[in-house]
């Protein structure tokens, strides 16, 4: 069975100029060869810290940013090859929910009009039929139908995020990129929105690419988790395997750093030294090697780029020091 979304070797390099007169543009390798699949009805979480390339990956898939190279196939359509009308038609099936719903809603449109827009653009409904659909969508995301005539500033953060979700759902997509959808919300409201996203997924069979930095939220949302560091996926595994037995030293450090609401619990925290390096000048070999505390770290780590391979069943890691404990499978891409 082929996946709903297939991303292969996706890269996005942004040019940066150093100094005013010296030419020679440098490249920031925001996304540097990322491959993964998302299946229908599945949530793949993309986690990592600021600047790791997770947002750029999500936006490149939707072509809100034009990727530098790679392929993206959605429902057996070559997304990067589409132009004009056919791209617009595809976007009906691929939507996005942004982190900051206030920034992504037009302040001068009522939220009813904002949700309606997609229906009109994609010729799904108009007139009274569109009004009914808007009312039904608002109800589905837990808002009152009469809110349709209000403006974004009249809503709280959690309510605006519900509007953002209703707007994305209006065109009945199969796949939604959720870009930090709950990061800006208070914890009690965050829980409401996480539950809503899961209910919608169950009811509508949606697939999510769930981009987040909060690992605890991800552990509630994801079926599989991909960890990004400096533009690359360094580990990808089913949720339980990733949280119970993370293999890549970076993932181990990331998980150990999460504060847990249990006073007095003794944790073996792996403190990473320093800051992540700049993606304009990534380290040689394994991009994580300068901060890695693996006891077996050696010259290989700084000289040779590790292969992203399946180490145990369905558990993919890019690390020289994690042994392969299964018979090699035929695929080179986690699916």
């Amino acid at each position: 069975m082929s996946a709903l979304l297939e991303v292969r070797d996706l890269t996005k390099h942004f040019p940066v100029r150093r100094g005013w007169f010296r030419g020679a543009a440098q490249q920031v390798r925001a996304v540097d060869g990322v491959s993964f699949d998302v299946h229908a009805g599945e949530t793949l979480a993309l986690v990592g810290e600021s600047g790791c390339g997770k947002t750029t990956t999500g936006r490149s898939i939707l072509r809100l940013i034009e990727p530098t190279s790679g392929t993206v196939r959605f429902d057996n359509t070559d997304v990067l090859g589409l132009r004009g009308e056919s791209l617009r038609r595809l976007r009906r099936h691929m939507q996005i929910v942004f982190q900051d719903p206030f920034g992504s809603l037009n302040p001068r449109l009522t939220i009813g009009a904002a949700i309606r827009e997609g229906l009109i653009v994609h010729d799904l409904a108009r007139g009274a039929e569109a009004d009914t659909r808007v009312a039904r969508l608002l109800d589905e995301v837990g808002l009152r139908a009469e809110y349709a005539s209000r403006y974004p500033h009249e809503f709280s953060g959690g309510q605006r995020q519900r509007v953002g979700i209703a707007r994305a759902l209006a065109v009945e997509p199969k796949f939604i990129v959720c870009d930090e959808p709950v990061s800006a919300l208070d914890v009690s409201v965050q829980a409401q929105v996480v539950n809503l996203l899961r209910d919608l997924q169950r009811d509508r069979g949606l697939a999510y690419l769930f981009i987040a930095h909060d690992l605890a939220v991800v552990s509630h949302m994801a079926d599989r988790v991909a960890v990004m560091y400096l533009g690359r996926i360094v580990e990808l595994a089913p949720r339980t395997a990733l949280f119970a037995t993370p293999l890549m030293p970076y993932t181990q450090a990331l998980l150990s750093a999460v504060p847990v609401p249990e006073p007095g619990r003794v944790r073996n925290r792996i403190l990473l030294a320093g800051d992540p390096p700049s993606p304009a000048n990534p380290p040689s070999g394994c991009v994580f090697h300068p901060r890695c505390s693996h006891p077996a770290k050696d010259r290989e780590c700084s000289s040779r780029v590790p292969v992203f391979e399946e180490k145990t069943a369905a558990h993919w890691v890019a690390c020289h020091k994690v042994p392969v404990t299964m018979t090699p499978s035929s695929t080179s891409i986690p699916s």
Binding site: S50, A191, H220, A253, P259, P261, P263, L271
Partner: protein, 329 residues
Amino acid sequence: MTVPVLAVHDLRVSFATDAGLARAVDGVSFTIDAGETVGLVGESGCGKSLTALSLLRLIPPGGTFAATSRVEFAGADMFTLPDAELRAIRGHRMSMIFQEPMTALNPVLTVGDQVAEVVRVHTRASRREATGQAVAMLTRVGIPDAVERARQYPHELSGGMRQRVMIAMALVLEPSLVIADEPTTALDVTIQAQILELLRELRDRMGMAVLLITHDLGVVAEMASRVLVMYAGEIVEEAPVDALFHSPAHPYTEGLLAAVPTLDTTRGRLRTIPGTVPAPTHWPTGCRFRERCAHAWDRCAAEAPVLYQVGPAHRARCHLVQEPERRRS
């Protein structure tokens, strides 16, 4: 019995708005002992940051303190203190770490000069001595090549490094109380772990008291020995950290703890608190949480609860403390 370094009595801060009087902080009282770390938690708009600013007599324009409000710091009444004496306390004996170092730091001064300035303003140190102290402090907060870094401007540093500079500024004169307002909220989790470790280490070595304001219950569990929970301008529960996490008495605290996603979970539904926080211009009568509370009965609308004693050093603003049989399971 230790002497409190800070005592807050009936703190009230209000703002006149178009929608009416907003009672953003509404009768907050607490103390902090020397060397103690107290967590102040609550969600957006509960008044926690405003409470913190008030301790230094810093409030946004338009805000008014009630005449009955008092903040005593090391015996001095912060609200009646002459400005000169107030300035001598601020940044010296009581200092603040802000959430966003990029806006709290001066963009046109090198970070070394900014730390040195604190020393120069409050002590008789010469420029050279102040710079020396600044570099020593920048080293102490874990900034590599502090001599070089001291000559850089805030925009040249990463978020984590900027937060270290903020901490260096706040701690360079070894204050007896540090107010840390969401000190790690803007940082990535691995950098947050570094900064919390640093704060813990410096606190233990300098013996200062810390008021840690945060919305992150995980951070509180790791850092604080006592916790104050704020909701709708009031403290609704105060307890030693273990009691708060293991036997919360207020339904709001319970709801907050249950809503926090944790790592080792079996992907169950997250518990939520229904509804939203009321507006500070229209706090509900009686208990301010009753409209979102699963246990509320008629007394909750008729009578505003006070902080009832639950256990040793544990108090909660909920009638359930007096009438536990009203609790619905």
